[in-house]
Subunit: 295 residues, 2 copies
């Protein structure tokens, strides 16, 4: 099989060709500019590649309501040119194959459930913690949508007692993203996050905030695996700190072995590493093809 995959991120696009085993055979990457610059590059890449379907996992928010005439559009984003842009329609008009369409984080959750850390599981939550914070949710074998899609990066958190940073979220100030995304770390400590030493108190504070996201996921969804990806999570020292904070926060209330005995195997980095997003888009493409054939 030859399936196209588009990982449409806020700063860069990655396009690839993959197969049903989750392996990516060819890829290209370029910075995210205005859609009239970026989309032609995507279309050029796939034009002569004979793909059977294309999956798109994209930054959002996006319209995922198939009954809407805005289905496939990017909705409200401050990113110049993208607000209201008909992303999916533009692709369809250029390359006529079945399309999968979802958020980048839902795609990553799906990819991880096919070939990564949540393989063979029917539920997981995938958080990306980087420039922003978002989450994809797989529950009962399906990617979760509703009114819109999860926007779990903006949950309210309890402020760390030592934190005097007011938060940088333009909507909520000190929501999770406002105090725990990469820019928050840099603004708070006045230093690039990746330059802070491993034993810097920044990481304990970061773990405190991320643990609140994880605890919310456990209590609201009871997922079988929680995957933490994104730039900030390259700091491997965060994992044991988060494990400790989650156990402390739940305080024995959730008695499942996964939490009590094997938390280091429950809250984990992406099994697909930096390929989580692209493989996720590939998985969306595969699902679209299979849905198309069932019709």
């Amino acid at each position: 099989m030859r399936i196209g995959a588009v990982e449409a991120g806020g700063t860069k696009f990655v396009c690839g060709i993959g197969n049903e085993f989750g392996s990516i055979e060819e890829r290209i990457s370029f910075p995210t500019e205005q859609p009239d610059v970026t989309l032609p590059k995507v279309i050029d890449f796939f034009k002569d590649k004979q793909v059977e379907a294309i999956g798109i996992g994209t930054f959002g928010p996006i319209n995922i309501d198939r009954s809407s005439d805005q289905y496939g559009h990017v909705t409200t984003t401050p990113k110049p040119g993208w607000s209201g842009f008909d992303f999916l329609g533009t692709m369809k008009r250029a390359i006529d194959v079945p399309y999968g369409w979802d958020t980048d984080v839902n795609a990553a959750a799906y990819g991880e459930s096919m070939w990564g850390a949540a393989q063979n599981l029917d539920s997981c939550v995938y958080y990306t913690i980087g420039t922003g914070i978002g989450a994809g949710v797989l529950a009962e074998g399906r990617l979760v949508h509703g009114l819109v899609h999860p926007e779990a990066g903006h949950i309210m958190v309890r402020k760390h007692p030592d934190d005097t940073f007011e938060g940088f979220c333009p909507y909520h100030g000190d929501c999770l993203e406002g105090v725990a995304a990469g820019p928050a770390i840099e603004k708070r400590w006045k230093q690039k996050a990746y330059e802070l030493p491993e034993d810097h108190p920044a990481w304990q504070m970061e773990a405190y905030y991320i643990s609140q996201a994880v605890i919310s996921a456990i209590l609201m969804l009871s997922p079988k695996k929680i995957i933490l990806g994104g730039g900030v999570m390259k700091q491997q020292q965060l994992f044991p700190l988060i494990h400790e904070e989650v156990k402390k926060g739940l305080n024995g209330y959730v008695g499942a072995d996964a939490v009590v005995k094997h938390i280091d195997q429950y809250i984990v980095p992406p099994g697909l590493g930096d390929n989580a997003g692209l493989c996720g888009a590939l998985a969306l493409g595969l699902a679209a093809l299979s849905e198309h054939r069932d019709k």
Copy 2:
């Protein structure tokens, strides 16, 4: 059709016989005692009723993992006699029909999606706010389970600036349940909740806490309807206060019309009123019968 329904609550059991249209034809109710007193009453009620299936929506936590040899058991509860009790097995041995088995709140969410406030919707969250706080979750047309089931009553909340009550949750102190369930209101204000006048500041504080639960649900799950039931929500004056607090908390971030324009139709009381739990159990029974027939 004749389907049995069991709403197993912490303080009382309700058993009923209903049909595929969600109407309950006959019912009985008695206090929840030890299982060896209570279950015989349930079994007696159904014994000669010729039901085709029985649905059970019960207080928890419970084992809902069909591959487990503890499936159908109540797990860890302080309720005398119930911890580890094989609820479903005891029923099955006495009356051999297909059984639906889930939490009381998942049942209520399901019932509301069949015949109540979330009719024809494939997602909703049902909160019960009473002696305790719990939530049932329907997403993508399915009741959500995972490691266990949602335990959304115990999410961390931000303390109201005027609240000096330390919370009563034995696990977390001032989690949502610890500060917003009925007993918290009574302990904080030293008065029965239902005796507090409608314009008492207790209700503004309560709305502040419940809005945090609702905001978490919106951001984590994006449900198409949020239903607030349980004893505390009999205080109808809470709804407009909650609507206001949710809008304030989200601050325009979720632009969906349901939130921005029609929040009074989005966050609502149970359409089935006090029958939400029993109708939910009925819906579980119907689903079990249909699953059995498909085999």
